[in-house]
Every structure is written in C-alpha cells, then in structure tokens.
C-alpha cells in the first residue's frame, strides 16, 4: 500500500513538471477570485477553459477516481502530493465546483453503488466538469424526517414516471442531472420504499424556482416534477434500497463540508486578529483592547484549531482506508459551530459597520461579512441538522437506545 519515498519523489517531480507545462501563468493565484461559491466568473476566459481541458484530459480534476472513468487513478498519498504541488504553483482545481454535487457526493456514491453502465455514462462528464449535478432530497413535508418523503416514481414498464416536489435543491436551475430520493413502494415501511433515481433535468416535466433567503439570492431552488420521466436503468443501487444509498451520499456530503474552504488557494478575507486590530485596537501592551472580547476570541480560535487538529487526526488514522470515518458526524457540528461563531464575532467587532445591507458607506468586506453571517445560519440545518447529527452520534456511535415513544 505505502509507496516508497523514491516513488513519491518521482511522482512529485512528474506533477511539478506537468503543472509547469500546463497551468497557465495568467491564472496564478486567482482561484478564489475566479470562483466564488459555486459560480465561475464568466470573464475567466480562454486560459481558464484550456486549464479545465488539461485537468480533464489528465484526470487530475478527480485525482483519486479510476482512470477508466476519467479520474487520475492516484493513491491518496499521491493526491496529497499533487495538492501540495498545486498550491506551490498557486494553481487550483475548479472541476469540483463546476460539477455541483457531482464530485464531492454523487461521484463517490456512483463509484460505490453504480452499475458498470452507470459509471461509464455518468462519471467521465463529471470528472471533466462538463455537467452540473443537483440533489433532490428534502421536501416541504420531509426535512429532518426525510424518510417520510412523498415524491413518487411509478414503474411504467420502459420508464419511471415521477410526480411530486423537492426543495432546497441546490443549483437545480442550472443542473443537467439530478439524483433524487423517490418513493417506489407506497406500501412498505417508510424507509424501505425509497429508491435513488437519476433524472435528466432537461425535460418539460421538471420546473425549478429559485428560493430567496435571509441573506438575499441563493443557489437553492424548489423543483417540481409533473409527469417527469427517467430511464428504467437509472436507479442507483437496489430498487427500494435508496435509503442506504442516500445516507451514504450524505456521509460524503458531511465530509466535504467539514473540509470545505480548503484547496481554493486561500481566502482574501481578513483574519479575526486583523479585524480585532482594525476595529477594536490594541492596548499599550499590545493586547486587543477589550478583555472580554479578547477572551472570547481566544476561546473561539482554540475551538477552531481543535477542530482542524481533529480533521488531521482522523485523516491520519484513516490513511489507506477509503471508508468514511464514523467521526465525520462529530466534525459537522463542530465545523458548523466554528463557522457561525466566527461570523458572529466578525460582526460584533465591526460594530455599526457590520450592520449594512448594501451601499457605499459600507466597505465590500463589511457587506460580505453580513451576508456570510446570515448564510452561515444554514450550516447547522443542511445536510442533517445539528439536532439530527446529535441523534446520529447518540444512537450510532455511542449506542444509546432509541426511545420507544418516537415515531
């Protein structure tokens, strides 16, 4: 399993040479600027397109996927070396963001549960960042109690006929594909009648409507299915086995959220220390000039470091083991709390300047901080809420029994 140092060094040289040759100098260090959230700046231009092309050809947009499905076929260790070489070259990998949920969640799940035909059909376009994927999980009446979902798919012999509604479908308005949890058996106990169905978004039976959130425009949509159709062979995993497939996908989601924000070549935002210095100032001995705030900032930064160290520890423990760690559930709540606390501390430090919605009296980073604060409220809701995560830890990790009074 473990490669020798010589092999790793050889790979490092290969990666360095390839980046020197193929990564356009005009894009150096511009990852964060060209790609914000899930959107690629349209002005990114020809060099950007060429770079995506090179990454796709080499398979290094999805470095650890098998080469037969468009991946790079690299080991975890090689992928780590590649990432280091990328940041050394101030390069970035935009493919994961261009594929929506394709690379972080759908891809690994198709690799695990897909048929050879499904893998061959869906994975190569994802690995090149050519198709954007959405996911249809939640419904208006199925949020934390996801298993009570009602959107149904009927077997019409040569196809599936889908009717119902999904919500919080991130990026559905520009997605080419959507992976949906649908009810395929209305008689079975609720978790046992669900399948994971893949639908082509480009059809008259599917309509999307964007949802405006407390922080303004968002990538979230409502998605309506009116006699939408899907090919017969687009069930991922077992028929009526969608609960297992769907849960597995969420583990990948939690893992990707936990490490979110890494790998895009750094953020332009100011650190909490810089903000404190700028908005609060320092006393004669160089301390932040508000003892209560300073103590709370220290407590927060310690929590953030503990969270990062936990990711490192779990990664080290799991090295060579492709399974998602059970501790991923712990990390999601910890990460959510760090993000939310950080954005609250940021606004607190900015005072009146941290209260703007729009307009020139506010600096752009101040307006951005307000929107981030609002957006951050979602982190403890999506992908399994704070409470659901704690249920999972209590039940699955600590082995506490389920209450008989609960549905």
């Amino acid at each position: 399993m473990a490669e020798s140092n010589a092999e790793i060094e050889q790979f490092q040289a290969e990666a360095r040479a390839w980046l020197d040759e193929n990564f356009p100098a005009s894009l150096k260090g511009r990852g964060a600027e060209l790609i914000s959230g899930e959107f690629v700046d349209p002005s990114a231009g020809e060099d950007f397109k060429r770079w995506c092309q090179h990454l796709g050809d080499k398979g290094w947009g999805t470095p650890t996927w098998p080469t037969e499905y468009g991946g790079g076929g690299l080991t975890q260790k090689q992928a780590g070396v590649l990432q280091k070489e990328m940041s050394r070259a101030r390069a970035f990998n935009p493919i994961p963001l261009m594929a929506g949920m394709g690379i972080t969640m759908v891809g690994p799940t198709i690799l695990e549960y897909g048929t050879d035909a499904q893998k061959a059909k869906h994975l190569p376009p994802i690995s090149r960042g050519e198709v954007f994927w959405a996911l249809g999980y939640s419904e208006p009446n199925a949020g934390s109690d996801l298993a009570s979902l009602a959107c149904k798919a009927e077997d019409k012999g040569d196809h599936w006929l889908v009717n119902g509604q999904k919500t919080w479908t991130s990026g559905a308005d520009r997605a080419q594909w959507i992976g949906c949890l649908v009810r395929t058996d209305t008689e079975a106990p609720k978790r046992d009648g669900i399948s994971f169905l893949i639908l082509d978004m480009n059809q008259p039976g599917i309509e999307t409507r964007p949802i405006k959130l407390i922080g303004g425009a968002s990538q979230f949509c409502e998605t309506f299915f009116n006699d939408a159709v899907a090919d017969k062979d687009e069930i991922l995993g077992e028929l009526n086995g969608g609960w297992t497939v769907g849960k597995r996908l969420l583990q990948h989601e939690r893992q990707s959220q936990t490490s979110a924000g890494s790998g895009m070549g750094g953020s332009s935002r100011l650190s909490l220390q810089e903000l404190a210095e700028r908005y609060v100032g320092r006393d004669a001995e160089g301390r932040i000039d508000d003892a209560d705030l300073r103590s709370r900032l220290a407590k927060h930064l310690m929590k953030a470091q503990a969270q990062r160290l936990t990711i490192q520890r779990i990664t080290a423990e799991a090295r060579g083991n492709a399974k998602v760690s059970a501790a991923a559930s712990i990390l999601k709540n910890a990460a959510a709390s760090v993000v939310q606390e950080s954005s609250e501390l940021t606004l607190e430090m900015m005072g009146h300047q941290g209260l703007g919605w729009e307009g020139d009296p506010f600096e752009s980073h101040e307006l951005e901080a307000v929107r981030n604060w609002l957006t951050s409220k979602a982190v403890s809701i999506y992908g399994g809420s704070f409470e659901i995560q704690n249920n999972i830890i209590a039940k699955n990790i600590l082995g506490l029994p389920e209450n008989t009074q609960r549905g």
């Binding site: 220390q273 404190a276 301390r287 932040i288 300073r294 103590s295 900032l297 220290a298 407590k299 930064l301 310690m302 929590k303 470091q305 503990a306 969270q307 160290l309 936990t310 490192q312 520890r313 080290a316 423990e317 090295r319 501790a327 712990i330 709540n333 910890a334 409470e387 995560q389 704690n390 249920n391 830890i393 209590a394 039940k395 990790i397 600590l398 082995g399 506490l400 029994p401 389920e402 209450n403 008989t404 009074q405 609960r406």
Partner: protein, 378 residues
C-alpha cells in the same frame, strides 16, 4: 487515538490492564481511607518503577528508554482513568525533564539514574501564591561562599511530602513578576532548613507546602546559568502541562464511560434514560468535546517529541481544552447519575475532586487562554 506504533499500542494495552487490575480506583479509595500522608500507595509506586515508566522520557544512559512524550501521555491517560495515585508525573515527567533541559552533565548523571530506578522522587517547586504564576517568585537565592542560600516559601508542591529532590525556581535578581532574574536549583530533600507541611487536599494526593529557611546549597546545585532560567522553566512547565492534559483526558474518558454506562442501564418512566433525547444530546456534546480535546492533547505531545515551533501554543491549547472537557465531563458525571452521584460510596466524587486539582495545576483555563491569545496575536 493517534495512529500508534506497535510499541506504543502494546504499552497502552499494558498500562490499561495493569491499572484496572493492579491499581484500580478501589485501591485509590483504600489509600484515601487509610489516611496515607504520602498521597500514594508505596506498593503501587514500586510496581510502576518495576514497569520502568519513570524512565519513559529519560535518556538510555540514565536508565531510561527515551520513548517520547506521546508515549508517556498514553500511560498517564490510562492511569488517569483509574485515578491511580503515584509520583510518576512529578518525578518521571517533570523531574526528568527539568534535569534533561536545565541540568549539567554532572547533575544528570547524579540524579537521573536515581529517578528512573525510583530511589529518589523528584519534583518542581515553583508556585508561591494561590494561583499559578511562574514568574511571581520571591524565594531568594543569595550567593554565599561558592554556593547559595535559599530563603522563602513554596506552596502546593506536587509530591512535596515524599520528594527527595526539589527543583526550585528561585530569584537571584530583580523583583517578583520579572521573567528575568530567575534561577533553578537542584535541592536535596534532606537539606538542613528545608521543612515540609503536608497538605490534606480534596483529591487526597500528595502535596506539601515547603519552607526554605536559609537552606545552604553548594555550587553543584545551580542548574544552568544564574538569572536566565525562565526560558528553560517555560519548556519544563509546558511538558508538565501536556502530561497533565493527558491525565485529564483519561479522567474525562472514564467519567464519560461511567456516564454512558448509566445512560444505557438506568430505567425511569419505563424507559432506559439514554433514550431520552435531552440526555442523548448531552452525551453527544460530551463525546464531541472528548474527541476535540484528544486531538489537542496528542498534537501537543507530538509537537514536544518533534520539537516543533508551536509547542507552547499547542500546550496552552491542550491544557485549556482538557480543562474545559474535564469540567464538563465530571459535572455531567454527577448530574446524570443524580442522587447516587452525590454519595461518597460511588466514585463520581473522586473524579470530580481530581478534576478540580488537575485543572488548577500549572495554569487553569483562564491562564492558558490568555497565553494562547498572546501567542496567536490577540
């Protein structure tokens, strides 16, 4: 748990088995009830010496095995789980490190073999007031002849009743509060003028206030150069804090396991109480803190072994996070057990008391939060 070497995994297993079979919490209770003034059982300490643990971080030519601090932390954590009382931390970790970091070749070859073979218990005498303040040192060391005269008081000295060697932080210049002007001395426990007042602390371990009444020492007692021992003292203290944090992880881990066990077995309202969401979520929160603290403690111990630049930051982080964790874990231990948790017959109180002492020793949460803040630019 960090990815362990085969050697470390074996040691962990050995320490866990030994502590739960030979030095379990019942034995600690027995020691407490016997009114033992040393604060540890001599037989237990003899076994620990036999096992070689006082030499885990000592150099091989001094009778040690030089296996590093992560390894030492593994043992301290396992002993912490059973509240196993012994001078291992004071002597094997702090005493050994003080000599390795600040001692001359002569001091090392004189004292280290005695510490690793258990004939001498070493300890650090630093604090003089109610709160940990490493530079608030008033105890004076005044040159006399070719040696020094030490005069002053040290309080709450770990294993102060049994120590045969005190590493004393003394002032040779400046005023209390100054980082400069501090020197370290290796002072034998039987020195004339040295008197100990053993304490009866809440955690029933061995502490003493130690008075130095014109204690005369020779030139061989001064460790390193006079007046500038602060940087070395900081390194010694950080290693002590990381070791304490490892023990705290063990005390918290056991407190959590006891709580979890109770949640799975206690029935009220016709249900196992662990099935109630209000309690399940508290268990989940506790588990999360446990995992986060473990990462910090292991990172600090590893940083010591790798001599990283951020040792001090990570030690402050580890001691503070372990403090937060232990505070929560022992309070929940009592609260979730309800009335039974309040009885002396049940072990919860023993864990709560040990937690309080560990938290206060060599800097509490506030102390380390302030240190961390200064180190990260706040």
């Amino acid at each position: 748990m960090a990815a362990l070497t085969e050697e470390q995994a074996l040691l962990k297993e050995q320490a866990s088995t030994w502590a739960s079979e030979e030095a379990p919490v019942a034995k600690f209770r027995e020691m407490r009830d016997s009114g033992n003034e040393l604060g540890f059982d001599k037989g237990t300490w003899a076994s620990i010496i036999e096992l070689g643990w006082p030499g885990i971080v000592a150099p091989e030519d001094a009778g040690g095995v030089d296996m590093g601090h992560l390894t030492f932390g593994i043992v301290l954590e396992e002993l912490g789980r059973q509240l196993t009382a012994s001078p291992l931390l004071a002597s094997g970790l702090i005493g050994v490190n003080a000599l390795v970091i600040a001692g001359s070749d002569d001091q090392q070859s004189h004292w280290l073999p005695k510490i690793t073979n258990g004939t001498v218990i070493a300890t650090l005498a630093i604090d003089e007031g109610p709160r940990h303040a490493p530079f608030d040192i008033a105890l004076r060391a005044t040159p006399k002849g070719d040696g020094y005269v030490l005069d002053g008081e040290k309080v709450h000295v770990l294993e102060g009743a049994s120590a045969g060697l005190f590493i004393v932080a003394a002032r040779t210049a400046g005023e209390p509060g100054d980082a400069n002007g501090i020197s370290l001395f290796a002072v034998p426990g039987d020195s004339a003028g040295l008197t100990r007042t053993p304490l009866t602390p809440t955690d029933s371990r061995g502490y003493a206030n130690v008075s130095f009444g014109e204690v005369q020492v020779g030139p061989e007692a001064l460790m390193g150069n006079a007046n500038d021992a602060s940087p070395q003292l900081e390194i010694i203290l950080d290693r002590a804090r990381a070791g304490l944090a490892a023990e705290m992880l063990g005390v918290a881990g056991q407190s959590f396991d006891m709580t979890l066990d109770y949640l799975k077995n206690r029935v009220q309202f016709g249900e196992v109480i662990g099935s109630f969401q209000a309690l399940g979520h508290r268990a989940a929160a506790l588990f999360t803190e446990l995992e986060m603290s473990r990462s910090c403690v292991e990172a600090a111990l590893t940083a010591i072994d790798e001599d990283s630049e951020d040792v001090a930051t990570l030690c402050a982080l580890a001691k503070c996070k372990a403090g937060e964790l232990l505070h929560l874990a022992t309070n929940e231990l009592i609260q979730i057990h309800g009335g039974i948790g309040m009885t002396d017959e049940f072990d919860a109180g023993l864990y709560l008391k040990r937690a309080r002492t560990l938290e206060a020793t060599f800097g509490n949460m506030a102390f380390h939060r302030d240190r961390y803040a200064a180190r990260v630019g706040l």
